[in-house]
Amino acid sequence: MRSYLYCPGNNPKMIINAGLYGADGLVFDLEDAVAPEKKQEARILLSQAFSEQIVPVEKSVVRINGPESDLWEKDLKELIPAGVRVIRIPKVEHPNQVQEISGVIERIESENAVTSGAVVLQCILETPLGVENVFLIGDSSSRICSFSFGAEDYCNALGIQRGQDLLPLDYPRSRIASAAAAFGYSAYDTVWGFLDDETGLKADSVRAKSLGFVGKSLIHPDQIDIVNKVFSPTSEELADARSIFEKAGLTDGGATAVNGRMVDRPVLQRAEKTIRLAEEYGVQVSKDDK
């Protein structure tokens, strides 16, 4: 998934329309986007939307209320029987939080004849403690499939401003992306909150991609095209990958040189991945890059 579009969990119009804009994935939010007194009705609205397949279930995720709240268990009890299979947990800081949530999910799966392990978890790291514990968190449950970075709370905790200067976020991003790679999970970058700043969105996305993220969370449909483009292979990258793959494929599998560059197993694997992603996202080699 290159783009995960957030959608408030208590807004029927947005829920109905969320799938129309071209985001690879959707995150229906029960946490920050829902007022405390509306939590129950949002939970029920989403449950109904999933069970009646009003939303594209196969690419939809629900962000539940955080582990520190007394709401996440109610969220899971309502949503899993309705067909939600990907849960995004905000503000994860300790492995035992994920273990506790996994245990409750296990019970709900069993009580509702859902295949054991069918529900998977996306963990959001958005505090300094969560970022520091990310390797411990990654090892805490076999249900985890991805990490996400949440920059707003992270910046608040550090007392820094989120803005054009991307450097302060390199450390948490690198740590999260590295941990994700260590466990074979996907890493998704934080939202870009400046809706009118498309240049900033692009720069932020490029930076995240360069550090190992495969996609980004979004707060507005207008951000989808930019993010999808950044997180897709470019025409040039595809042409290069094909060239490597074709020429290296003629050798006996050892290291070789293609276009003046050493190509060994990791380079070949990367080229393969680029070609696969380009096919998935419909990227073509332009005339200039042939």
Binding site: N11, P12, K13, Q40, E41, L45, S47, Q48
Partner: protein, 88 residues
């Protein structure tokens, strides 16, 4: 006691339910009642039946909500009422 769920923004519905002991009475107001009034009534009655609600008064103000929204808002209002100790 009365509880409500939803609101009057586009494609939403405001459902108010009170727990009086008279047989269930449902009133629906909608800008599209000529076209969908009967269908809304069927949806609402079905949801109350599923929730085993046979008494009380219900006011539904619709702003072109889909059926799943009507069902969800009814369920939320009934749960709110039950959470407050009402026998409905």
């Amino acid at each position: 006691m009365e509880k409500s769920a939803g609101n009057l923004t586009k494609q939403d519905v405001l459902v108010r339910v009170s727990d009086d002991t008279s047989p269930l009475h449902i009133e629906i107001k909608s800008s599209v009642s000529e076209l969908y009034g009967r269908a809304h009534k069927v949806v609402a009655e079905g949801e109350f039946k599923r929730l085993n609600v046979s008494n009380g008064s219900v006011w539904i103000e619709d702003n072109q909500a889909l059926d799943f929204v009507i069902r969800a808002r009814i369920r939320a209002a009934v749960y709110e009422l039950r959470d407050s100790g009402a026998e409905i």
